[in-house]
Amino acid sequence: MRLIGAKVPRVEDRRILTGRGRYVDDLHLPHMLHATFLRSPVAHARVAALDASAAKRAPGVVAVFTGEEMKALSKPIAVPMAEAMGARIPEFYPLVTDKVRFVGDLVAMVIAETRYEAEDAAELIDVIYDPLQAVSSYEAALDPASPALFDELGDNIVYTSSSSAGDVDAAFAAADRVVAMTLRQHRVANAPMETRGAVADYDPASGELVYHAATQGPQGLRLALANTLGLPMERLRVLAGDVGGAFGLKGYVGREDLCLAAAARQLGRAVKWTEDRNEHLLASGHAREEKIDIEVAVTNDGSLLGMRAHMTMDHGAYPGVPFPAAMFSGLVQMLLPGPYRMQGYAFDVTAVSTNKCVYVAYRGPWEMETWVRERVLDEVARELGMDPADLRRRNMMAGDADERLITGLSVAGISSRQSLERALELIGYDAFRRDQAAARAQGRHLGIGFATFIEAAPGPPEMRMGGGMFGGEQAKVKLESDGHLTVVTAQAPHGQSHETTLAQIAAEEMGVPFEHVKVVHGDTSVTPFSLIGTGGSRAATWASGAVLLSTRKVKEKVLAIAAEQLEISPEDLEINDGVITPLGAPHKSLPLAQIAMQATMAPNSLPPGTDPLLEAHETFKGEGITGSGWSGGTHACIVEVDLETGHTQILRYVVVEDCGRVINPAVVEGQIRGGVAQGVGEVLYERAAYDEDGNFLAGTFMDYLLPTAAEIPTIEIEHLETDPDDELGFRGVGEGGAVVAPATLTNAIADALAPLGARVYDQYLPPSKVLELAGVLPTT
């Protein structure tokens, strides 16, 4: 029974297509109250006075919490990961206590019988703000004359770090030339179609809090609620039903979450909060605002010798909980040189606080490394008068056994070169150059761009052994008394189809029909611990391995019983379609359900020495993977830029992707296409814009533009399934599309505009910017 590799229809689809999904806002509990938040209209100010008396008297209002009242119910919010890496953390609470620090900051919480009443009452709260200068740019944040967001920190620099590898000075000394530039990436929003939301349900009799949440990390959320509010873990249960997208955002613990849980405990009633889209765009989280000053040392014949990079990150007003912005700079540092040889590399980073929304992870939060590297390589090729494909061919590692990134990790077995060559072949690179010349002669501006990435998911042996930084991934598998399987995962899916893919793995391993496997997730009272939950491509890589190991363990127990009963060695037994069959003796077959029922109902009747508990809870720590551990690929696209309108049309988009052993091609391709669409949106349409006073300018979907079906092109995909014999060779595919698409598309636009002398240093290329670059409009 081959399920792994098949386009198995999704288990999730029946309920999703018939309106039976259960998203958190669908929950209606008895006597449930509704919360809304009063948010700051200004970027930076002291709260001089707050009068909530009228709101408290408004119809339907049950409670209004101010900053001081909430502070009494909460400890300062901890960010252990920031502490561990030496980032500076201010003291902050669920609601503001002294100052507001961005437009959308949390000033007060109103709880009423209905949402309408809560919002009516919030309008009655009088607040007097004493404005302070807004810190709205890297430059302002680094200026010692600017006010500090947090008085106790003294300035706005929250993290610095530097590192080097190889001999960077020697590399630059040996260079024929150094290509230097500053590359800027703009602030964007994850913008899942479902906003954030939760229902906190507290039972005063038992002291138990059940927290229903739209989360991709239920266990991390549970931990943060317990730590901040002093709730005992055994009485704190987080439940996640269907989650309507997240892309990194819903792995964070919102200050709203802490408010909601604290209020429910205080009031002894269930309280619901559903974020509206304006709040979401304003205050849920933003990503990607980073710049890198980069210098590349090269020889005239196109050998890369070294890189120096200084990264600046705008982490917004507050640290992200539990994953602060600064932690992603480590991944950027590791991957910036990419699969290219060089002799020396230096990297440093400065993360600053500004009066903007908190920085969160967004689908491949290290994406800056691919964009900067692949963009600068095109510029290096241009300086040298070289073909950008030839420059890459000259420097790209082949994946030989002894090859390592300059930052240390082994890249034995990577397929970067194969993906590059195949992508260029599929898009017809050589033929395109001829077409492009002809089109240019007709006044049409066509461009081609391509870019290559690698992703450590699960990473090479030295990174994955022992389970990596999170100590592996757990799963539980239980054979039910009817011979069906229950699989319990620590993953928290929100579109990734784990109910399907993990069932494919368990069913094939056990030898039961796919329909006999149920995947359970999103209930911390039964699911194993994982701080991340679903994120960082952990499902395909780590969770698949954990389900495989646990299923195998259960199968061993079953076969040990069957072997005794049939007096046949377990090695001579197989399970197919739920029937245990001795090899060469099919007449002695025995239904799996028979042993399952016997083990459940009459465990004493089993053969001595066998285990009646037909379940397993295993931790997968990366053992048994034989392949490279690196995902990767090359994307290529062709664009036409219209210099009348500034519009960029994507004429073709080709993906060559290596994510190892493909579990379900339809799921994999959906992940790739969705990521590419987000990358395209990021370059052409989306910007979470602020003005210099820190006012937010993109608070609706008419200002924050998501691409539609009319803008996203057909995306052609080819899989390179390297390491076909690696049974556990499932590699991550969640991020790749979003990581490499911005580089691919900006390189194509830069290529189209090259004859006009334009240089692309910004990732955001809406029509107005394209026209500026082309010299049609004056530069702003």
Partner: protein
């Protein structure tokens, strides 16, 4: 706030309820009638997740007041199955792996239902234009376009 009597039919069942004039159709469907299949993605008419059919026309239930729907026949995602069988459009979306997180799905289904009902032959470019009033953040749309094309083929063959 004063409430008014509202009579309307939803998925073939008549309802009479008391609503505030400011209450949206989406809130009446989701909260008062507990038909939570209709989703709210933006509440300002851009994302299309809340699309329902009002006397056969696709409308955004977040932008309509419930009282404006008085006397109409509303169809929501919950109204598509017949005798436990999914509508051919739902089946085609399943077979095409059209969706991921599923939050935008009901809006797409209802929008496309109205579109297919028009019976026009659409090129892919035209189809993508028709779909551009609904946002999906997961899929990149290709699988949705394929699902609509498959449904159109099957429904044409079945006529």
């Amino acid at each position: 706030m004063t409430r008014r009597v509202l009579q309307l039919s939803v998925n073939g069942r008549a309802h009479e309820l008391m609503v505030e004039p400011r209450r949206t159709l989406a809130d009446v469907l989701r909260e008062d009638l507990e038909l939570t299949g209709t989703h709210l993605g933006c509440e300002h008419g851009v994302c299309g997740a809340c699309t329902v059919l009002l006397d056969g026309l696709a409308v955004r239930s977040c932008l309509m007041l419930a009282v404006q729907a008085a006397g109409t026949e509303v169809m929501t995602i919950e109204g598509l199955e017949r005798d436990g069988e999914m509508h051919p459009l739902q089946e085609a979306f399943r077979d095409s792996h059209s969706f991921q997180c599923g939050f935008c799905t009901p809006g797409f289904v209802m929008t496309v239902l109205a579109l297919l009902d028009e019976g026009r032959d659409l090129s892919e470019v035209e189809l993508r234009e028709e779909l551009s009033g609904n946002l999906c953040r997961c899929t990149g749309y290709q699988s949705i376009v394929e699902g609509v094309q498959l449904a159109a083929e099957r429904m044409a063959a079945g006529r």
